[in-house]
Structures are given as structure tokens and as C-alpha cells.
Symmetry: C2
Subunit: 335 residues, 2 copies
């Protein structure tokens, strides 16, 4: 059942049918009705491929992410999906892994598919391969990025102010009286660096000593949290608080600290990041920086909406994190 069949049945030409389908004005009311009726009686669904090949919009939004299993990414993917499909767009959710060649592969596929919009989620997509690919082949469609840094005429950015998030954590610890704060640096590309910079700036501001071993670098994770504590202990780091790690990492830290006979927060305070479910579960419940991922998702959807409907959208949107106070941070012991 194709457009010609419908045309024949309705006694019109294929062009007229196409016009009716696409709501193009300039069809007599009489024929329009006749075609509509034929269309619905035969449950006609236009062939996407033909339509796209002929040059019409693909009505597709592509989401690229490094790891859909990561809760932050899947939340954003979920929200964007909701928004896009409510606007009548199909969503192509691509999980690239961290492998640049796979990222490139997907970008190539998307070029050939002529997606209407590209959404990049996560800083792990920052690498020269992706950069070049975007620069060379995505001139014509909007590219919305969360935590990426590519630039271009069609680039739109949405970012959490992670530096401010860390600053808030340090401010809070400082206000409680902490003067010796160790830091966990994850491997989330430049995001991690920005967090570290914020920590270092605050340390300088408050005169917090930063020694050779005050910063532990590793991929995030429960076990990494335990490793971090081990590292600080083994290297004789003097600290009354730790921050920088995300909640799951912080939970590992707490676990290890308790195993070492230290009480949290009496002996050591811990502040996590992301305010995920882990923060609630941890004992004591974690004080944590909420990146406000839902606001970020919302901002992405808003940008998406503007980019797809109007010709203009906000180039950069920043979302301010907030500190959620629970039980894992308290004034340090005297002395």
C-alpha cells in the first residue's frame, strides 16, 4: 500500500496525496477530505525511507552517550526522549562506549541518517576524533551538548557549574571548622579538572594546606572510595574531611573509615556529589552536592525545543548545584 495506490483509490494524483499527508495548503477541501478518508480507511503509514530519501526531514533526534548504564546519563536520555517524542520526533539512542572509533562510527551513521538534531551527553565524548567529526559534518543541524566543549555555529551547551558545587562543599566544611580537607579526583575528563581547580582555589582562599598526597585520583566507584581512604592513611595525610568523590565513592570511603575504627562524622566528615539514592542509603546519610540533574535535563529539553521549532536557542545554559545537608559532615573534634 503506497502513495500511488492511495491516489488511485481516492481518484487523485500522488502529489495531491502527498500534500494532504504533509498538510501543505492549496488542496481543495473536497479532495482533501476524500484523501484523508482513504488514508485512514487503509491504515496507511508512509514509508520513512522513501520520505527521507526524497529530502523531507527525518524527524529524528539522536542521543549519544558513553554509558547508558550510568544513572545520570540515563535520566537525561529519558527526559530528552520524553520531550522529543512528544514533539513527534523519533529518538535514536546511541551508546558509544568510551571508544572514539565507535563514537566516530555512530556520528557517521547519524550523518548518513541526517538526524535533525544531535544531543551529546557526557564529557567522555571530548576527544579530537569526535571534535573533528562534529566540526566537519554537523554544520547543518543543532548539536546540544552536556559537559562537552566543542564549538561551532550550531553548538549549544548545557552544563552544571561543578566548580561551584565543589566550592559549596568546601565552604560548608570550612564553616563547620574544618581546616584539613582531602580531595578525591575522578577521571571525568575536564569536569574532574574543573572540580579540582575549584577545590584548590578554595584551599588557597582558606589557607587549607594541600600536600603531595592530599588529592587521590581514580575512577569513581565504591572500591575506589575505600582505596582513597587507604591511600590517605598510608601516606600519613592529615585530614578531618574528604570531598570530591561522588556518592557511591563517598559511601566506599565511609565504609572504609568505619572499618578503620573512625567515626563518621565525628572523626572524619565526608561530603559526596550528585545526591543520588546512595547518599540516602549510606550510614550516616551523606551530605552531598546535588548537581540538579533534572534541571539540566530540563534545560537540554528546552534548548532542544527551541532549536527544533524556532531558529534560535540559548547558546549556553548553566545549572547551579545545591548542597544537601545530611549527617556525614559535622564540626571536627577539638584539638
Amino acid at each position: 500500500m503506497n502513495i500511488y495506490d492511495i491516489a488511485k483509490l481516492a481518484g487523485v494524483s500522488s502529489a495531491t496525496v502527498s500534500r494532504v499527508i504533509n498538510n501543505v495548503p492549496g488542496v481543495s477541501e473536497d479532495k482533501r477530505r476524500r484523501v484523508m478518508e482513504t488514508l485512514s480507511r487503509h491504515n496507511y503509514v508512509p514509508n520513512m525511507f522513501a520520505r527521507n530519501l526524497a529530502g523531507a526531514s527525518t524527524k529524528t533526534v539522536a542521543i549519544l552517550t558513553v554509558d547508558i548504564r550510568h544513572i545520570n546519563y540515563s535520566i537525561i536520555a529519558y527526559e530528552v526522549e520524553q520531550q522529543a517524542s512528544s514533539m513527534g520526533y523519533n529518538v535514536l539512542l546511541c551508546n558509544t562506549t568510551r571508544d572514539p572509533s565507535r563514537q566516530q562510527f555512530y556520528l557517521r551513521v547519524l550523518v548518513s541518517k541526517k538526524a535533525d538534531c544531535l544531543v551529546l551527553i557526557g564529557s567522555s565524548l571530548c576527544n579530537p576524533v569526535v571534535d573533528k567529526e562534529i566540526r566537519d559534518n554537523f554544520h547543518d543541524i543543532p548539536v546540544i551538548m552536556m559537559n562537552s566543549q566543542f564549538d561551532g555555529p550550531n553548538a549549544y551547551h548545557v552544563q552544571g557549574r561543578v566548580g561551584d558545587g565543589v566550592a559549596k562543599a568546601v565552604d560548608y566544611l570550612h564553616s563547620l571548622g574544618h581546616r584539613k580537607i582531602a580531595f578525591f579526583k575522578d577521571d571525568d575528563h575536564w569536569i574532574a579538572q574543573r572540580k579540582l581547580d575549584a577545590y584548590l582555589a578554595k584551599a588557597k582562599e582558606y589557607g587549607i594546606p594541600v600536600g603531595k598526597h592530599s588529592v587521590y585520583c581514580s575512577r569513581s566507584g565504591y572500591d575506589s572510595g575505600m582505596d582513597a581512604v587507604n591511600y590517605f592513611e598510608e601516606n600519613g595525610v592529615d585530614y578531618t574531611a574528604i570531598t570530591g568523590g561522588d556518592d557511591i565513592t563517598a559511601t566506599g570511603m565511609v565504609k572504609r573509615l568505619k572499618a578503620l575504627g573512625k567515626s563518621v562524622p565525628r572523626d572524619v566528615s565526608v561530603v559526596g556529589y550528585f545526591n543520588s539514592i546512595y547518599a540516602k542509603i549510606c550510614e550516616p546519610a551523606l551530605t552531598s552536592v546535588d548537581n540538579n540533574i533534572n534541571l539540566i535535563a530540563q534545560a537540554i529539553c528546552n534548548t532542544l525545543n527551541c532549536a527544533l521549532t524556532k531558529r534560535t536557542a540559548p547558546k549556553k545554559t548553566y545549572v547551579e548545584p545545591s548542597l544537601i545537608v545530611r549527617d556525614s559532615a559535622a564540626p571536627p573534634k577539638k584539638g
Copy 2:
């Protein structure tokens, strides 16, 4: 850059280029090499739409899931994506939500896209709308389902034996000496029912009393776990152990039990489900049934592989859960 451009550059016809691209035999080694070289020098990517319109396979696997934010679903989506794209397939990851009309919408889109294979993840897709849609429009392509029950000539099923999982939990608790075991029933459609049935069967086998309030029904979640404990307490249920809830729910139970001054596992034993990261984090660490989601994902990929390459694949694959013993279950107090 289309196939004609390539043909001209390589000094052959478009047909030959097409043959090379599709690995069709009957091209001289000489020309094949020349075309290949041109292809890669120009970073040529065939236009999907034209290719599909011309009748070739769409090279697309569609994954339908109710909520990509759910870790179990995203793990499976991730694995299937890996497998499919390593076989050269694009993956269309569709998040339907629980809304049948959206599920239907996506299925319609997929029909018009003529996906090569459909993967349904999660029992929440079990409803008459989806059933009818599949029955009517997906005769020609394999439909692989995890925890769905639709039947048909092209239906393939992969399931965890959740009943066995629950049975193992109850067996274990019984072997520890428990004779009063309460149960948490989630709302995961027939899966939940199957778990409950297994519990009831075991209860009967062991003579465990099942009263009017021994089973608490609710959607899974941390708060639901707390609610469950409240419910059992308020209704004067006599229990020394609880099982049936997933890890996050079980963690909520533990939290609430401890808040009520009960020690876990000394006063009450708790056994979770899924053996997720939550089980590790909980204090005490949860004894939990591992549904072996990775094996399930593997089985789906295997089925996918068979269905796409050979004409035959295993109709049903079952994965046996295993019990992971940690610290949240112990013999009940004497008396």
C-alpha cells in the same frame, strides 16, 4: 558523496561499487581493491534511506523498554547494543514508558522502519495493545522478549527463573531455622505473581504460616521497604525474616528495622533480590538473590545473533538465579 561519485573516481560502475560494499561475490580482485581504496579514502558512508528503500535490510535492531533509568534494563540495553552493533546493526533504543499508547506508537514507527529485529525488555510491556500490535504486524521479523509472554512464530523468550530465586531465598532462610517469613510483593506484573507463588509453595512445603498480613504489596523502592516494615509491625505480623523485595527495598527495610531498635540479622533476617550495588552498600551487607542479569543479557544476545544470522534460534532460554550470601541473614534468636 554518493555511490556514483565513488564509481566515477574508481573508474567502475555504481553496480560494482554496490557489490563491493555489500560483499557480493563476483567482482575481480583488481576492481574490488580499487573500489575499497576509494571508499575508505573518501570516508564514504552509504545512505541508509536509499539503501533501505531499495530493499536491502535495514540493519536495525530495535530495543523497547519501559524505563531506561532502571539499572537492570539499562544493563541489558547496553549489552544488546554492544552485540548488535558489533554485528553491524544500528540500534534504535526506544523508551516507551508504561503508557500502552506510546508503546503502540513506537511499534508503529518500527513497522514503518522495518526493523530487522525487535527486543522487548521487561514485563511491563505485557498488555493487550502491545500483544495485538505484535501479533498483527511483526510476523516477519524475530521478536526477542525478556519477561514477556507473547507468543507467535517469531517469538523468542529469555527469562530468569525468578520462582527458583525466591525458592532459594526461602530454602536458605529455612535452613537457618526460620519458620516465620514475611514477604514483599512488588508490582512487576506476572513476574511478581510468579515470585509470590514460589513463596507460597515453599511456605506450604515447610509449613510456614501465611496470614492475612504476611504479604505486603507495593511498588519497589527504598521508602516502600520502610513502609513494608511498618505494615508488618502495625498488623502484628509475627516474623523473623523478610524476603521478596529487591535490594533497594530491602535496604529500606533494614533501615526501618534498625530505627525500630531491631538488629539485622540478629532479630530479623532480610534477603534481597538482584544482588545490585545496593546489596554491597547496605549495612549489614545484604544476602541477595542474583538474577544473573549478565547471563540474561548474554542469552538475549545469543538469541539475537542466531535469529539474525541463522534462520533458527532457541525459542526459550532460562537463566537460573543464584543466592549470594552476605550478612543480612542469620539463624533466628532462640525462643
